[in-house]
Symmetry: D3
């Protein structure tokens, strides 16, 4: 078996709220494009995040990455998002709307950066669920 | 079979955000009791609500309650909660903290009121999930 | 601990189709009350059934009921429903509409009868899911 | 991040019934190959469909595709399947058996056609669950 | 609303292994009654435990019990079970078979004892899942 | 549609226990790397295995592989793992630690071997869940 064909995934959770709104649009246009998500004080979600890492299985430990380490690295990122209002409490959505697509892109970059040079593995993919029936996948470019 | 021993339940969902905070407490005491939930702009959840109705099964339709009607009545209530910041966008949590317990109590009373005199059935129970691992049940007093 | 306060539940599954239709009603009235469920050749569901049994825990085996036996008894009943068109392939819905309420009532009676005199336990409750967001509970009258 | 590496998925549901049967085979051969699925009036399922779309995230809206649009386009297709007996109520399974594989292939082609020229995105994949333990994936050929 | 009609539930998880075997039975009898569960070194499960507590909702905090406290008390008990071989690593199954029924009874008594005199609430019920399709409920005797 | 772009997946389950321990390490080092998993008699899990097969859809049966056959072939492999203590009851983990990564690698090779020359299909992928929040994917090298 080729080692790059094996992946380990761990699920994380965080709760946050967000608002969809563009100041350069009229209220009518905001409502038309963003629907109920324009509500002024924001509304919230339980986000579920699957983080997928690839690498060689260490013949001594039998592990791609020690899960204690994976949790530590990912939680450095998630602490910035958990129990926050994403538009106001984080610096990432000042100009970008905090849609599931944009939150997933930001999370991918932050986790990818956090895992760099930490061992013989790399971030392959994240999946972010806003609800159980809506999710976004972001894959590492060259797999 | 005794007709009062049969119950029909329908699941609903809504997204909302909330904050746990008491002005009459110091920030230290708020943090100690409410932890991460004190975050100033609030944080959010996908709430899942199970509404359970009891009654006689109508021999003609085979139904306790027509589900189209049940959805209509419950959605009158949920529209006040969906995509809202519960502390500021609703009148129910001005003095009460919007914990899962208190949200469930308010929802039970509102849905119970909404279903009254609508037919030969009554609200028996609601279950409110804040997350898949945390939920509150409220039962009708005299079952 | 009082032995009647302990319950064991096992989940079963079956696939069936059904149609909601009353010949003594006009097509308009059928559509108004039963909506899409009037479709002439029927439509189907994966039903999920939870069977709950109460009794004394046998001090020798540590069991209320041997699960091999429970499966055998419940499957005698479910074989009449699995992969069937409930209106035409079973005798139970000639005059009663095969709503979730009525299917649950029929299943409760058949399983209750099947479990009778098979041991020191009794059927307490069944829960029948038509979909993950719609289910009916039937409880034994005198618990 | 390369935009083609981001995907958004939405879950849909429909209920349908089907029968596995070939007229050019004996009843014995049908039973041997298709088992309980040969039952004459058909049996049913709650199908769950995940539709995955790829594209560039619009910098203004933060979206690959507006979910209101995605729902509208997919529902045009699903209305032909929901609450139907697939063998008799649709034109797609006159000669092909409505197995999960064939239903998935038909759904992929219909949704792919429906999404064409509607925007700067494309159908990447569908996943069709017949039950929670059985599903078929169909991927766009050149990803 | 009567305060005893409100309940809060929290889900916990632990992993353990067990063996069903009676020394006073022949291997044949053990196999006949316990099937694959007689395997000598034991086999394992991810157990899921739902702990349900009832009480008055505190008008100041909006809580029946602070979840940080509930977790602390229940984890005192679960530390004795998590990552253990229940027959050998715990004192509870020397003579009793570690069936789901018996594990649930032991857990109920230990958690009930642990929660006593800790506040204005009491243990109402636990539900223990051995697998997603098999679970045992234990209720407090006088509710 | 290109036939190699269609995949069918079936979920299987088995229960097993395992221990993480290296004799050539001190107890301190074992504890530091493997945490609670070093517990001497092992602990257990309900493993969930998704087996994904690709191939041409047979125009006569509408199937990539008859599920009765798929179940038969996979169960030949799973009988070696179900209700076993993986370290002692199987030959696969004498020198390799039975981590989720290593169990998945062994299962992939055994199922791949078992499906060879059985028909016009091949194993594409397996996914092995140790818990609902931890899983490993193994893909066939040249897809």
């Amino acid at each position: 078996m080729n080692p790059q064909n094996i992946f380990i995934s761990k699920k994380f959770e965080f709760s946050a709220s967000h608002r969809y709104w563009r100041d350069d649009w009229s209220e009518e246009k905001n409502d038309q494009i963003f629907g109920k998500c324009t509500s002024p004080y924001g509304h919230g979600h339980n986000y579920e995040l699957h983080v997928t890492v690839s690498g060689k299985v260490d013949p001594v430990t039998g592990m791609i990455i020690n899960l204690t380490d994976l949790k530590k690295h990912v939680n450095v990122v998630l602490e910035k998002f958990d129990h926050k209002f994403l538009n106001l409490d984080t610096p990432y959505f000042k100009s970008d709307i905090p849609t599931t697509e944009n939150i997933a892109r930001v999370l991918f970059d932050l986790i990818d950066e956090e895992l760099k040079d930490k061992g013989d593995f790399r971030l392959s993919k994240i999946r972010l669920y806003e609800r159980s029936d809506l999710y976004v996948d972001v894959w590492q470019e060259e797999m």
